[in-house]
């Protein structure tokens, strides 16, 4: 036993898979210690905030100390961030369509471009052939470049409590800086937010945990049922075998996933918790474990060491536990790992179809995919809403399959290189 | 003097195990086989028979490694040839090998004709299906096997037929020398006899020119081989004609082996079987002197000191023991 475990951990593939899985588990357990807010809390008003470091503007302005830094490239950066190359090209297009000769426009000369724009642009004018959306786009560009070349700084005003008048309380100069350590509210959203404005990274960690739990529960159920039925069919044989094989064949003929869909569908949504789904998946995916265990037990039963055990007067339970189970243990472990990873995939597929667990408590990897899909993250190019989820699913199943291949190489020396 | 089909001089090969230990499974073996002759190799499990068979082909792959010695097949010295050249121009054509338990290692999803196709195409890549099939048909006709077998899968064949088919696949390119490693040990007596008859017919018709036959079943070896080499712990300990080896063995180990023969012939019921006590030495560090010393009834102090050379007796006989021929004959006489 010790020797076997030793060998298992000498298999490179297993170790890599195991490390990935353990790292995932570590993150799942440690992350909530630092970020305590519930994974489904809506923090953002609006959809799909991109990943990044979010700094509270109010706190920044009111930071205790203001520093002045004279940076030579500050202006260029500011202009670039508000007026992109694409915008410049678009502005030129508008001006040309409006009637300005093309050779009079130099899009690299920001000042001249802005002057020309200000002189001619009319937000209410819809040039021939321009779509409504395009008109809106130009309105947006127009708004964003407003005051772009101003050197004035921004005036901060507060409402006087008595008169209700706005009174100037300060000026934010273009060279003013706040130290981010002085800003009270800074929030890192490494993966941005989703369509509801929820932090995707927090959600992803929680979802990975729940999906692993679903996999574990489903895998345990499927493996136990498969093991018990396979043992009974293989060892007792006869009529027991025939009836178990009959049921197994029924399950084989009906595609498991269709069955899964039907069962999920028939449970109302508010009864579908994560564990319920796990149980449903477990109860529909034991078939091939049972078949495989049965055929293994079948050949083991005729092995002479079982006969010898009988001749030594051992009772049936002991024969099953001591002479049969150890021989199929490695196999069952491998089957279990595969069951876990396929249950995670099954949950994901169910949830994508909208048949996963109810959506109010916990996220699962499948639900996250479902949301991303419904809110068209993939069409809108909001990659952070689905790519990390896909990668997590891939990573978990990949690590398990890797562990499995590693185990296979240890247990079937014929596959070793 | 007849043509020498295979000559091996001082061949030494070793396994390098996963733990980087050397196992000298073939230690300075020399042999020669003339045209039309069968050389038998006998010895107990683990003495290096299969390793010798593998080594004789001059094609080494890990964990087996060449150390020293020469292999000359029908006048062509293949020592030092590149492995790829050996595979392309020697294997299957000059010398062919039937591995132990090969018949149980056939890929069950392929037809017999496909195995033959593999062998043929390794040497004649241009051949199409029809050419391979025609070749296989005429091969099977020559060997007296039914052509239907070509279209069957291995599981559809009985043990005896499967083994004969394996032999046919091995000799597809009519090699000069055939090495058969325990070709009939897993078969019942009737199938065994058919396999032996097929091999014998191949020799008689000149389809193959010489054969090496490996088995631990001495009565079988006696009937198949012209000469017998007895192997012990990687070395040849006796080399004699089949008759001498069985009825007049010189080396104490051969003597012991021959004492374990049982055949259903009158008189043998009352002969006492002689078992050799103990186990062969570990080939990772074989003893310095005679390797059989631990188990030998006649061991002397000098046996354990230096390695014992192979002494030639007359033209076609050799044995590896410090005792002289007369001394050995005398101790055997006293024993009985």
């Amino acid at each position: 036993m010790k020797h076997t475990i030793n060998q298992v951990f000498h298999s490179g593939k297993f170790v890599v898979g195991f490390t990935i899985l353990m790292t995932t588990l570590f993150v799942v357990f440690v992350y909530p210690l630092f970020i305590k807010e519930p994974p489904l809390q809506i923090i953002g008003q609006g959809t799909f905030f991109p990943p990044g470091l979010y700094v509270n503007t109010y706190d920044t302005i009111n930071a205790p100390t203001t520093y002045t830094l004279n940076l030579s490239d500050a202006e260029a950066r500011r202009i670039a961030s508000r007026l992109s190359q694409d915008d410049r090209v678009a502005m030129q297009e508008w001006l040309v369509a409006f009637g300005i000769p093309e050779d009079e426009i130099d899009i690299e000369n920001t000042e001249q471009l802005l002057t020309q724009w200000e002189a001619n642009y009319d937000p209410n004018l819809r040039l021939p052939g321009m779509t409504f959306a395009r008109q809106r786009y130009f309105q947006r560009v127009n708004a964003s470049i407003d005051g772009l070349l101003s050197t004035e700084g921004a005036i901060i005003a507060a409402r006087n409590a008595e008169t209700g008048e706005l009174e100037e309380t300060g000026v934010v100069k273009l060279t003013d800086f706040a130290n981010i350590n002085d800003v009270a509210n800074v929030r890192l959203l490494p993966l941005g937010t989703d369509n509801f404005g929820r932090d995707i990274s927090t959600q992803l960690v929680a979802a990975a945990g729940v999906s692993l739990l679903i996999g574990l529960v489903a895998g345990l159920i499927a493996t136990s049922i498969g093991l018990v039925l396979g043992l009974m069919a293989g060892y007792i044989g006869g009529i027991v075998d025939d009836s178990i094989m009959f049921v197994t064949n029924l399950f084989t003929v009906i595609p498991t996933f269709v069955l899964l869909i039907l069962i999920s569908f028939s449970i109302s949504q508010d009864q579908r918790g994560a564990i319920t789904i796990a149980i449903v998946i477990g109860f529909t995916s034991w078939v091939w474990t049972a078949r495989a265990v049965r055929s293994q037990v079948f050949s083991l039963r005729n092995r002479d060491h079982v006969n010898l055990s009988k001749l030594s007067g051992h009772p049936v339970p002991r024969i099953i536990f001591a002479d049969i189970l150890p021989y199929i243990a490695s196999y069952v472990v491998m089957a279990f790992i595969l069951q876990v990873s396929s249950a995670i995939l099954a949950e994901a597929s169910l949830s994508i179809l909208g048949l996963g667990p109810r959506t109010t408590e916990t996220p699962t990897l499948g639900l996250m995919m479902n949301w991303a899909m419904i809110y068209q993250a993939h069409i809108l190019g909001k990659w952070w809403a689905y790519m990390p989820v896909l990668l997590t699913i891939a990573l978990i199943t990949f690590s398990m399959n890797l562990m499995n291949t590693g185990l296979d190489q240890v247990f079937n020396p014929a596959l070793r290189d | 003097m007849a043509r020498v089909m295979l000559e091996v001089r001082d061949l030494t090969t070793k396994y390098i195990t996963r733990y980087k230990e050397d196992v000298y499974a073939v230690d300075h073996v020399s042999l020669r086989i003339e045209e039309g002759k069968t050389l038998g190799i006998a010895g107990e499990s683990g003495c290096g028979k299969s390793t010798l068979a593998l080594s004789l082909m001059g094609y080494y792959f890990p964990p087996l490694h060449y150390t020293s010695g020469e292999i000359i097949i029908d006048g062509q010295n293949i020592t030092g040839m590149k492995p790829d050249d050996v595979r392309k121009s020697i294997l299957g054509r000059e010398i062919a090998y039937i591995p132990q338990a090969a018949m149980n290692a056939l890929n069950p999803t392929r037809k017999i004709i496909d195995f033959i196709g593999d062998v043929v195409r390794a040497h004649e890549p241009g051949w199409n299906k029809q050419m391979v099939y025609d070749h296989a048909r005429s091969l099977f006709a020559t060997l007296g096997l039914p052509a239907e077998v070509l279209q069957k899968y291995p599981v559809e064949l009985s043990g005896g037929m499967k083994q004969r088919t394996v032999i046919a696949v091995a000799v597809t390119l009519s090699p000069k020398v055939l090495i058969a490693d325990e070709p009939s040990s897993a078969l019942d007596v009737t199938s065994q006899k058919m396999v032996i008859k097929m091999l014998r017919d191949m020799m008689n018709s000149g389809f193959i020119k010489a054969m090496i036959f490996i088995t631990h079943e001495l009565p079988l070896l006696y009937n198949v081989a012209d000469e017998i080499m007895v192997m012990y712990a990687g070395q040849i300990v006796e080399h004699a004609t089949a008759k001498q080896a069985v009825f007049d063995p010189l080396h104490p180990y051969s003597k012991g082996l021959m004492g374990s023969i049982i055949v259903p012939e009158s008189g043998l019921r009352n002969v006492k079987l002689t078992a050799i006590p103990g186990v062969p030495p570990n080939l990772k560090n074989p003893p310095a002197g005679c390797r059989f010393a631990e188990r030998c009834k006649y061991v002397k102090a000098e046996c354990k000191v230096t390695s014992v050379p192979l002494y030639e007796v007359g033209y076609d006989r050799a044995y590896r023991c410090v005792l002289t021929e007369t001394e050995l004959r005398r101790v055997y006489q006293d024993g009985e």
Binding site: G313, Y327 | E44, G259, I261, E265, L273
Partner: protein, 270 residues
């Protein structure tokens, strides 16, 4: 001589059918036999002739489809677990393939301790048990001290088969069925195994049933030989009568197919 002693194991019309419908195999077909106490019997047949199936029925490891088996003249009763255990004190086996006859997860000691337990020696003090095991191992020229705490796969085929004999030595059953005990080991170790089996028989006077396809072996060891073909006994009698003067064509063919050293091995008759 054999018929004078008491009947030990006998059977009438013993039959075993596996499967049904198109998969029906008649493995053993209405065989009658009478084995006497202290006799050495060989059952010889080609592979698939039903030898192992018959052995398993004799051992009570599988049920008979038809026919009766008698133990010491009485109808054998192994209907309950307890009765089976009692029966197995009297009849034991050595199997063909030593590599599959041991549970690879259990140490060698467990195999031998089981035997002591079956003989009712469960409560013996530990030294007493070790003494018994040491004695059994030394009977087959193995050193218990070297074997203890080892796993079966650390032994060679010949050593494993000898350990099987040590097991029988501890159990001292009235009947031993040896199913091809030497077919998986080389000719050299075969003599050793036979040696110990015969020595054990001489010491305990047990009835020894050899199951084999090796006619030479059957001839060498047995008093009585049964020849089996397709589940039927086609010929039986003393070893000399059956092997040297076979009556049935099947027996004759079988014997002529064995390579010999004194007579010509006629290859033309295949």
């Amino acid at each position: 001589m054999a018929s004078k002693t008491n009947l030990c194991l006998s059977g009438t019309g013993v039959t075993k059918v596996f499967g049904f419908g198109r998969n029906r195999t008649l493995a053993v077909d209405h065989v009658d036999f009478a084995f006497h106490e202290g006799e050495i019997i060989s059952i010889v047949g080609e592979s698939g002739s039903g030898k192992t199936t018959l052995a398993k029925m004799l051992l009570g490891l599988i049920s008979t489809t038809e026919g009766e088996i008698f133990f010491q003249g009485q109808k054998r009763d192994i209907s309950s677990g307890k009765k089976k255990k009692e029966y197995w004190k009297n009849i034991q086996a050595i199997f063909q393939d030593p590599f599959s006859a041991y549970n690879t997860f259990h140490k060698i000691d467990a195999v031998l301790l089981d035997c002591i337990k079956l003989r009712g020696g469960d409560r013996l003090p530990k030294e007493e048990k070790v003494k018994l095991m040491t004695e059994a191992c030394s009977f087959v020229n193995l050193k218990f001290a070297e074997l203890t705490n080892k796993y079966p796969f650390e032994l060679s085929g010949g050593q494993m088969q000898r350990l099987m004999i040590a097991r029988i030595f501890l159990l001292k059953p009235k009947i031993l069925i040896a199913d091809e005990p030497t077919s998986m080991i080389d000719a050299c170790s075969r003599a050793t195994i036979l040696d110990y089996l015969m020595k054990l028989r001489d010491e305990t006077g047990m009835t020894l049933i050899f199951i084999t396809h090796d006619i030479g072996l059957a001839y060498y060891v047995s008093d009585t030989v049964y020849i089996m073909e397709h589940g039927k006994f086609v010929e039986s009698g003393t070893a000399d009568a059956v092997i040297l003067r076979p009556q049935e064509p099947y027996t004759r063919r079988l014997i002529s197919d064995v390579p010999k050293i004194y007579e010509e091995w006629d290859l033309s008759t295949v």
